[in-house]
C-alpha cells in the first residue's frame, strides 16, 4: 500500500474560552485519525459543531493543533505557530472556502486572484501569466475566459465565484485540496454543475481531496471514503457507498435518515454536540437510541468491520454498532 498523502494521527484541537474562576475550553477535535491517499477523495462529514471545518483549517495551516500529528507525504506539519505552512509544503496543500461571497477580495480582479498563486509558486513567468490564467478559467467552466478575467467578484454570481475560488486553489498545482463545503452556499440548481466540474478536474489531475460537507448526497456521489464526525470525534469511517447504504453507527444512521424524505420520525433524541468542557465517554450518548450506562462512562472501543477491502478500512467507534462487529482493540 502506498504511503498516504495525508496522515492525521490522534488530532486534537481545543479553544480556550477564558473564564476566571473555572477555566473553560471548547474541544473542537479529539483523537481524530484518518488518511487520504494520492488521488483519493475523502469526505469529512458532520453537522455544525462537529469540528470538520476546524480540522480542515489545521491541515491547510491556518490553525494550530493542540495534540496529535498531521503528516503530509511523510513530513510532519508544525503544530504550533501562526499562519502558513513551511515554505516547501506551501503549494502542496490548498483550500477552497465555503462562502463564495467572502473568499474573494472585492478590490481585486479575477486575474489578480489567480495570477498571484501562479507567480508565488513559480507556475508561470510574468510573460505567460495572462494566458495561464485564461487556461485555468476555461478549465473551471468560465468560458470565454476574456469575459471574466478582468471582472471584480461583485460582478459574478455565487457559482461563478466558486469556480474562481477553485481555479485559484488549483493554480499552484497542489497535491491535496481541502474543500470546505464548496457548494453549501450555492443554489441547489447550480451545485451539480460545480461539483461535476470539480470531480472532473480531480480525476484528471489525480488530486487528493478532503471534502468537508454536511451534505451526505454529495459525499456519496464524489467521495471514495467517508469519515463521520460528531462533537469532534470520528464516529465511523469507511468506503463511502457502503457506509451510507448500510450505516453501522447510530449517528450515521440518524444523518442518513434525516437526508432521506421518509416520513418516519428521526431516531434518537434531539440535542447539541457536547463540545464545551465535555465529559468522558461517547459524545452521542445523550441522543442515542441504543445508549446504555457503559456508553456514558467508558472509553469507547473501535470495532472493525470484517471483510472490507483493504482489511480494517471500515471502523466504527461505538459500543453497539449495527450489526455487531468483532472488536479491534485499537485506540
Amino acid at each position: 500500500m502506498s504511503r498516504p498523502l495525508l496522515d492525521v494521527r490522534g488530532l486534537g484541537v481545543t479553544f480556550d474560552r477564558g473564564g476566571w474562576a473555572r477555566p473553560s475550553f471548547l474541544r473542537a477535535a479529539h483523537r481524530v485519525s484518518f488518511t487520504v491517499h494520492p488521488g483519493e477523495v475523502v469526505a469529512l462529514v458532520g453537522e455544525s459543531g462537529s469540528g470538520k471545518s476546524t480540522i480542515g483549517r489545521v491541515i491547510a495551516g491556518l490553525q494550530p493543533a493542540a495534540t496529535g500529528q498531521v503528516l503530509l507525504d511523510g513530513t510532519e506539519l508544525p503544530t504550533a505557530g501562526t499562519a502558513g505552512l513551511p515554505a516547501h509544503l506551501r503549494g502542496r496543500v490548498q483550500m477552497v472556502f465555503q462562502d463564495p461571497y467572502g473568499s474573494l477580495n472585492p478590490v481585486h480582479t479575477v486575474f489578480h486572484h489567480i495570477a498571484r498563486p501562479l507567480l508565488l509558486h513559480k507556475r508561470a513567468t510574468p510573460g505567460e501569466l495572462r494566458q495561464r490564467v485564461s487556461a485555468l478559467l476555461e478549465q473551471v467552466g468560465l468560458s470565454p475566459a476574456e469575459d471574466f478575467i478582468d471582472r471584480k467578484p461583485q460582478a459574478l454570481s455565487g457559482g461563478q465565484r466558486q469556480r474562481v475560488a477553485i481555479a485559484r486553489a488549483l493554480a499552484p498545482r497542489p497535491d491535496l485540496l481541502v474543500a470546505d463545503e464548496p457548494t453549501a452556499s450555492l443554489d441547489v440548481s447550480v451545485r451539480m454543475s460545480v461539483l461535476t466540474m470539480f470531480r472532473k478536474l480531480q480525476k484528471r489531475r489525480q488530486l487528493g481531496v478532503l471534502l468537508i460537507t454536511h451534505d451526505l448526497a454529495s459525499a456519496r456521489w464524489m467521495a471514495d471514503r467517508i469519515v463521520v464526525l460528531y462533537a469532534g470525534q470520528v464516529m465511523e469511517q469507511g468506503p463511502a457507498r457502503a457506509v451510507l447504504t448500510t450505516p453501522r453507527h447510530p449517528y450515521t444512521q440518524l444523518l442518513v435518515a434525516a437526508g432521506s424524505r421518509r416520513p418516519e420520525p428521526l431516531p434518537g433524541k434531539p440535542g447539541l454536540p457536547p463540545v464545551v468542557d465535555p465529559s468522558p465517554g461517547c459524545p452521542f450518548a445523550e441522543r442515542c437510541p441504543r445508549v446504555t450506562f457503559g456508553c456514558i462512562d467508558d472509553e469507547v472501543t473501535v470495532h472493525v468491520a470484517p471483510d472490507t477491502e483493504p482489511p480494517g478500512a471500515w471502523r466504527v467507534r461505538c459500543h453497539h454498532p449495527d450489526p455487531h462487529l468483532p472488536t479491534s482493540g485499537a485506540q
Binding site: 499562519a83 467572502g102 475560488a165
Partner: protein, 290 residues
C-alpha cells in the same frame, strides 16, 4: 474621487479647500511682507489695507494669507503622519495578534489615556520652538486614536475568508496587509486623514494661541496670540482676529463636508435622498404610473 464630486456637500468642501490651499500657497506672492510696518497700528479695514492693521502696524490681510501657509501645510503633513504612524502600529497589532498585539495595544492605551492638552502644553514648553517641534508634539499626542480604530478594522479583516485564502495561497504577511487588507480600508483611511488634519490644524492654532509656538513665525495661531496680546477685544479691533478665526473655521468646515461625502460613498444608506420626511425605516413606497 469622481464619486465624491457628485455628492453636493463634498463638492462644496472640495472647492472650499482647494480655494484656501490656492490662496495660502500662491497668495503670498501677491501680498507684501507680513512683518513689515505698513501703517498706523489698529487701523480698521480700508482701501489701502483690506483687513486693516494689527497692534504692531502690520497688514492683517498679508498676515492671514501668509499665516495659512504654515498652518495648513503643517496641518496636512501632520494629518498624514498621524494616520501613517497609527496604521503601522495599529495594523501590526491587528494583523499579528497574540503577544505583539498585547504589547502594542498596551502602548496605544497608554497614549490614549495620557491627558492630551497638558501633555501638549508641557512638550511644547520644553521643546525648542519651530515647526518640527510642533509636528512632533501633535503626532505624539494624536496617533493613538487612529491606531485604535485601524487595529480593530485590520483585526476584523484578518479573519475574513479572502485574507485566509491569500495566506493559504502563500502570500507573505506584509503583502497580505498592504495589498489585500489596506485597499479595503481606503475610505476609512481617507476619513482618518481628514479627521487627523482637522485635529492637527485645531491643535496647532490652540497651542500657538496659548503662546507655546514659535512666536516669531507668522501663522494663524500666532496671529491670534498677538491679537489677544494687543488687547483686541478691549479695543474692539475685530479685524485683527476675525479673519484668521474665520479661516480656521472654514478649514474645519471644508474637511467635514468632504468627510460627509466619504461617508456616503461607503454607506449608501446615508445618501442625501434617504429619509426625507419621517425618521426611521419606511414601508416600500408605491409609485403608480397611469
Amino acid at each position: 474621487m469622481s464619486v465624491l464630486w457628485c455628492h453636493r456637500q463634498a463638492r462644496v468642501g472640495l472647492i472650499l479647500l482647494a480655494l484656501m490651499v490656492l490662496a495660502v500657497f500662491v497668495g503670498p506672492l501677491f501680498v507684501g511682507d507680513p512683518d513689515a510696518f505698513v501703517g498706523r497700528p489698529l487701523d480698521p479695514p480700508s482701501l489701502s489695507h483690506l483687513l486693516g492693521t494689527t497692534g504692531q502696524g502690520q497688514d492683517v490681510f498679508a498676515q492671514t494669507i501668509v499665516g495659512g501657509r504654515t498652518t495648513l501645510g503643517l496641518g496636512l503633513v501632520v494629518g498624514l503622519a498621524v494616520v501613517m504612524v497609527g496604521s503601522v502600529i495599529g495594523g501590526l497589532a491587528g494583523y499579528i495578534g497574540g503577544r505583539v498585539d498585547d504589547v502594542l495595544s498596551f502602548l496605544i492605551n497608554v497614549f490614549l489615556v495620557l491627558p492630551g492638552l497638558p501633555l501638549m502644553v508641557v512638550l511644547a514648553a520644553y521643546l525648542p520652538a519651530g515647526p518640527g517641534s510642533m509636528a512632533a508634539v501633535l503626532i505624539l499626542t494624536g496617533w493613538a486614536w487612529n491606531a485604535r480604530v485601524l487595529r480593530a478594522q485590520v483585526a476584523s479583516f484578518r479573519r475574513r475568508d479572502f485574507v485566509e485564502a491569500a495566506i493559504v495561497a502563500g502570500e507573505s504577511p506584509m503583502r497580505v496587509l498592504i495589498v489585500e487588507i489596506l485597499p479595503n480600508m481606503a475610505s476609512l483611511l481617507g476619513g482618518s486623514v481628514l479627521g487627523a488634519t482637522t485635529y492637527a490644524v485645531g491643535a496647532q492654532v490652540g497651542l500657538e494661541f496659548l503662546g507655546l509656538g514659535d512666536l516669531g513665525a507668522v501663522t494663524w495661531g500666532t496671529n491670534l496670540y498677538w491679537a489677544t496680546n494687543d488687547s483686541a477685544l478691549l479695543t474692539g479691533s475685530w479685524w485683527t482676529f476675525v479673519p484668521t478665526g474665520t479661516c480656521v473655521a472654514l478649514t474645519g468646515l471644508s474637511l467635514a463636508l468632504i468627510n460627509f461625502g466619504l461617508d456616503s460613498v461607503t454607506n449608501p444608506a446615508l445618501s442625501a435622498d434617504v429619509g426625507r420626511g419621517a425618521p426611521g425605516p419606511q414601508p416600500t413606497p408605491v409609485r403608480r404610473s397611469t
